[in-house]
Amino acid sequence: MKTNFLMLHTITRIVSFIVLSFSVYLFFAGHNAPGGGFIGGLMMAGALILLYVTFDAERINRVLPFDYTAIIAIGLLLAIVTGLNSYLFGDPFLTQYFEYYQIPFVGEVELTTALPFDLGILLVVVAVALLTIISIAEDVS
């Protein structure tokens, strides 16, 4: 008999969006306020794992057809390469650069090289968390 998790499905549809958007907020809040790539990535992984738990893995794998192993590598490379660009200016590794820009409609925005670095961290954290949990889950079945 197929069990029907109506409550879980309905709530997850709403909650996962809230969690995902909050994780994006946390990601951008980082660097000057509490937040950043690591914590944002963990929260994003949490939201995605909630989706995996609520709906079956096959369906989510169809929606998110990513090779998480490759994402780990890409995330690592993104973080290192961001650190490496300081070599171009003769500064030590990982030196960060930032500048304030006026963007129409948005107003003053700070663009920093810490952002792509953090994005790399986020990718690694999300991919590692998901890969670990999915591998263990698939091992049982």
């Binding site: 590598a73 890409i74 490379l77 030590p92 590794f93 990982l94 030196t95």
Partner: protein, 494 residues
């Protein structure tokens, strides 16, 4: 500020990350990893040269100034160790090409090989105790994976012990860091050294020192914490065993050298006496266990332990000559021990066994292998004019000068036993009538197996024949680490 210091850490890191993407292309992985390793070797040579020319090089990551930010420091000792790790890395990689199975290559052998080297080089170059912990972890997690891949029952059982003991050590490391941070308010090595000089090395500082010694003793396989080593190094294939046996324990030894020459130098009568006792026991028990074995690889793994005793002995005697002898011994041991493990791998590939009693007569069928093995065996036993003689000579001489006759006697007797067990291998494996038929081994090409070992043999001969220039350089290294103020000034810039 000098970014050269970072290259030996960054090159393998980037290579490892890129190679994850190409896990399904073994040929591409082999070619690119060989190229990257050679680049890394060149970078380490460049590092040693620039440190030799310009003195200690430091780089403050992210441009944050020294005691607050993270620094990487390349002094002579650290850059020499990086050079050794690159040499071992190159040769073990080329040996791995010949001996590693296809399945291992698919399961991220090359990425984790490079992450391991990232951790090793990072541990050598870091100027910060917490980052030493981080790089230790990078190294250990990679080594867990390299040890356990394959998943035989033996491997799973032994790597479980390896993982547990190392996680225990890591937790203890963190506790020791908390002590030190509580005492000095900093984790920058140079800054800690400065603070401890001011507050004096009292009881609590000694507690932290001994805690760190236990942690590094576990990683470096000192008495009585070496029990995890022989079995877990026995499991993985020869290329990895050579890398681990040559390099990984030396990271622990390096950390002991760094902390007990830079930071804990104000209560030598206590700390270095402890080191001396541990050195003697490590030497004796390691070599006795080796003598009792009849397994090629097992003899070698137990010899790792007894050789570590020599290094710590040099540190414990704590005169410039003794420390130089110990550093010489580290260099000699990395070279020769890796070579010996590769010989074990080569003979295993030819005969299909590690048991000495099942092999015989390889001298007739494989003379090149036999004589190259003979050279490295007598080198580790300390026969002139090979490198092993000069390191032991310096250690014994300095022990006599310091009037520490007991440790000198122990070192000499252990040397005899080392010679005995090496000759035991030689007699069983290479003497006697050949046990193999020509058809058994004719399909195994010996030349590609021996090629990666030849550089090591050349190095051990060169380090013996040109002992004077090499020793002058190592004496310089020893003088540099024995004067903490050079290091402190270079990092904190005062």
């Amino acid at each position: 500020m000098n970014n050269i210091v970072l290259l030996p850490v960054l090159i393998p890191f980037i290579a490892g990350a890129v190679l994850i993407l190409f896990r399904h292309f073994p040929k591409l992985q082999r070619i690119s990893s060989a190229v990257v390793m050679l680049v890394m070797l060149a970078a380490s040579v460049l590092l040693v040269y620039s440190v030799y020319q310009d003195g200690i090089l430091t780089v403050e990551l992210g441009n944050w100034p020294a005691p607050f930010g993270i620094v990487l420091v390349g002094d002579l000792f650290a850059s020499l160790m990086v050079l050794l790790s690159s040499i071992t890395g190159v040769t073990c990689l080329f040996f791995a090409f010949q001996t590693i199975t296809k399945e291992r290559e698919k399961y991220f052998f090359y990425p984790f090989y490079f992450f391991l080297l990232t951790g090793v080089n990072g541990s050598f170059l870091t100027g910060d105790l917490f980052n030493l912990f981080v790089f230790f972890e990078v190294m250990l997690i990679s080594s867990f994976i390299l040890i356990v891949t394959g998943g035989t029952k033996f491997q799973l059982r032994e790597s479980y012990k390896y993982v547990v003991i190392n996680i225990f050590a890591s937790m203890m490391f963190l506790a020791a860091l908390a002590y030190i941070y509580g005492l000095t308010g900093t984790l920058n090595l140079a800054h800690i050294a400065q603070q401890i000089e001011e507050i004096g090395q009292t009881g609590v500082v000694n507690t932290a020192a001994i805690m760190l010694l236990i942690v590094f003793g576990i990683k470096g396989a000192l008495f009585p914490l070496y029990f995890w080593l022989p079995q877990s190094y026995y499991g993985p294939p020869a290329a990895i065993a050579a890398l681990f046996g040559g390099l990984l324990t030396k990271v622990g030894v390096y950390a002991i050298f760094r902390t007990f020459t830079l930071i804990f130098v104000h209560d030598i009568s206590f700390t270095h006496t402890v080191l001396l006792v541990l050195a003697a026991l490590t030497m004796v028990l390691g070599v006795l266990a080796a003598v009792a074995q009849f397994n090629f690889k097992m003899i070698l793994t137990y010899h790792i332990i007894s050789q570590i005793g020599y290094m710590i002995m040099g540190l414990a005697i704590f005169t410039p000559l003794a420390v130089a002898g110990a550093i010489y011994h580290i260099a000699h041991n990395v070279v020769v021990k890796s070579a010996l493990f590769m010989f074990a791998g080569a003979t295993q590939k030819i005969t299909g066994t590690n048991n000495l009693k099942e092999m015989s007569g390889l001298l007739k069928t494989h003379p090149a292998l036999a004589w190259l093995f003979f050279i490295s065996a007598v080198s580790i036993a300390g026969i002139p004019p090979l490198s092993g003689f000069f390191s032991k000579f310096a250690l014994v001489l300095s022990g006599l000068e310091a009037e520490m006759y007991v440790i000198v006697a122990v070192a000499l007797i252990v040397g005899v036993f080392t010679l005995f067990s090496m000759m035991k291998i030689f007699i069983y494996v290479f003497w006697g009538s050949p046990s193999l038929q020509r058809s058994d081994y004719s399909h195994i090409k010996l030349a590609p197996l021996l090629m990666p070992i030849v550089p090591f043999i050349v190095l051990t001969i060169a380090m013996g024949l040109f002992a004077e220039p090499v020793f002058t350089f190592i004496q310089l290294t020893a003088d540099q680490i024995l004067d903490p103020s050079i290091y402190i000034d270079a990092v904190l810039g005062e």
